[in-house]
């Protein structure tokens, strides 16, 4: 089961449907303490999904006030698989220039900047991927496969070894898939990217299961006690 973090901004039903289509359950978690209780209760909680719709600063603020920032930081520390989608991927970078300057989670050193005016903004639609590094997250994905993007800001990674796949938009190379250990980010929306997107979600689920089989028990935090989980259907 994947914990989908609710930052109170976007609709999470499409990403949940995406996981349902590849046979994985999800649970929506909107507070740090809810996650702690859930992780103590459920043995099958494997990975974390950090979705992202809205603005960078608002999302970081929500992570802080909801207590989910601690959940994300702990996951990164213990190596629990975490996937950031769209803004969720950008949050994993050091800093963003969206509406001023906001500090991110710093997993991937680099900045998030706005597209130049020489291209239409947002970068919206289906763009082909160039896979630059083989990785289990991209198993079955071929060069030239299309995925659906919609974003006005893009990341500029400082360390190229974290880049798994890129997309070319105008003169800009958009980092499309990032990985560092078990922390992943995708700039596009796999849940809206047809069968290719489904493949990537399925691969993430496999990575989560494999990680849990190897580390799950020791990685579980202590019970928080008595807090029921939040679910939206």
């Amino acid at each position: 089961m994947i914990a989908v973090l609710d930052l109170g901004i976007g609709n999470l039903s499409s990403v949940r449907s995406g996981f349902a289509r590849v046979g994985e359950d999800t649970v929506v978690v909107d507070k740090g303490e809810v996650y702690t209780a859930l992780a103590a209760e459920r043995k099958d909680l494997t990975g974390i999904l950090l979705p992202g719709v809205g603005a960078f600063g608002d999302a970081m603020f929500q992570l802080r006030v909801s207590g989910l920032l601690g959940v994300v930081r702990q996951a990164i520390r213990e190596g629990r698989p975490l996937l950031g989608i769209c803004l969720g991927m950008q949050l994993l970078f050091s800093i963003s220039e969206e509406h001023g300057s906001n500090v991110g989670l710093g997993v991937f050193p680099g900045r998030v900047v706005r597209f130049p005016n020489s291209v239409k903004v947002p970068h919206m639609g289906w763009n082909d991927l160039t896979v630059v590094k083989d990785h289990p997250l991209l198993r079955g994905v071929r060069r030239g496969d299309y995925v659906y993007f919609v974003h006005s800001y893009y990341a500029v990674p400082q360390e190229p070894e974290h880049l798994l796949a890129a997309a070319q938009y105008g003169n800009t190379q958009v980092p499309a898939v990032m990985a560092k250990g078990s922390t992943f980010g995708v700039q596009f929306h796999p849940e809206k990217s047809g069968s290719v997107g489904g493949l990537i979600l399925a691969n993430f689920v496999e990575i989560c299961r494999a990680w849990y089989a190897a580390h799950g028990e020791e990685g579980r935090p202590d019970a928080g006690g008595g807090i029921s989980l939040v679910s939206r259907d």
Binding site: S13, P122, M124, Y146, V150, S152, S193, G194
Partner: protein, 260 residues
Amino acid sequence: MLTKRIIPCFDVLDGRVVKHVGFLENRRDAGDPIELAEEYSREGADELVLLDISASEEGRLATHRVVSEVANRINIPLTVGGGVSTVDDVRALLLAGADKVSMNTGAVRNPQLIKEAAHRFGEQCVVVAIDANLNQHMGKYEVMIQGGKVGTGMDVITWAKRVAELGAGEILLTSFRQDGTRNGYDLILTRLVSEAVNVPVIASGGAGKKEHFWQVLTDGKADAALAASVFHFAETSIGQVKSYLRQKGVPVRWSAVNAG
């Protein structure tokens, strides 16, 4: 490279898809929206647009249920429009499962709606639909509202720039003159708007054959082409259109489905 998008659109009345037969008011039931959405998705549609034309509250609720079901079944983006006039309308459609919400008359009457919706939910989900008609007296394209029935006196280019500034993430531009004719898109209008703004423009109105898609995506400089009746009446299919565009060197999303 970013590809050009082919977007089928269908009207939903009280939870059912209706097809226009001939012009304007003649409609007939065309069946189950979920089946149609899945069919288009399988054929290679890049997105879907669903327009709610229900007049009653019950009709709208029925459409919301349709939006939820369609959104859960398809894995491509879904835009929903029709009668959106408040931020709560936008929120309700997003919660029902729409990825983007299209606003038209509501945005003309209250342009702040665009700004508020973009601020609350992000620019990426705000589509402003503009119905344009060539007004001979003005010597310009005029913005029409209420399904093209009422002129506003506003110049389309001025309005398009304004909505982009207010935070629209995309413009859905319909040529009222061409709509329903199947004589081809209004290339001049589409190019004027596409060159005037820095957000993507979806051309709509007039598609009758595969060549029309090619024209509007090249000469018309549209980022996407929307069509309804040409696909409903199976005059051409999404696969045929994409195959043709690909031959012509227009970048389109191509999958095994299209090849088969």
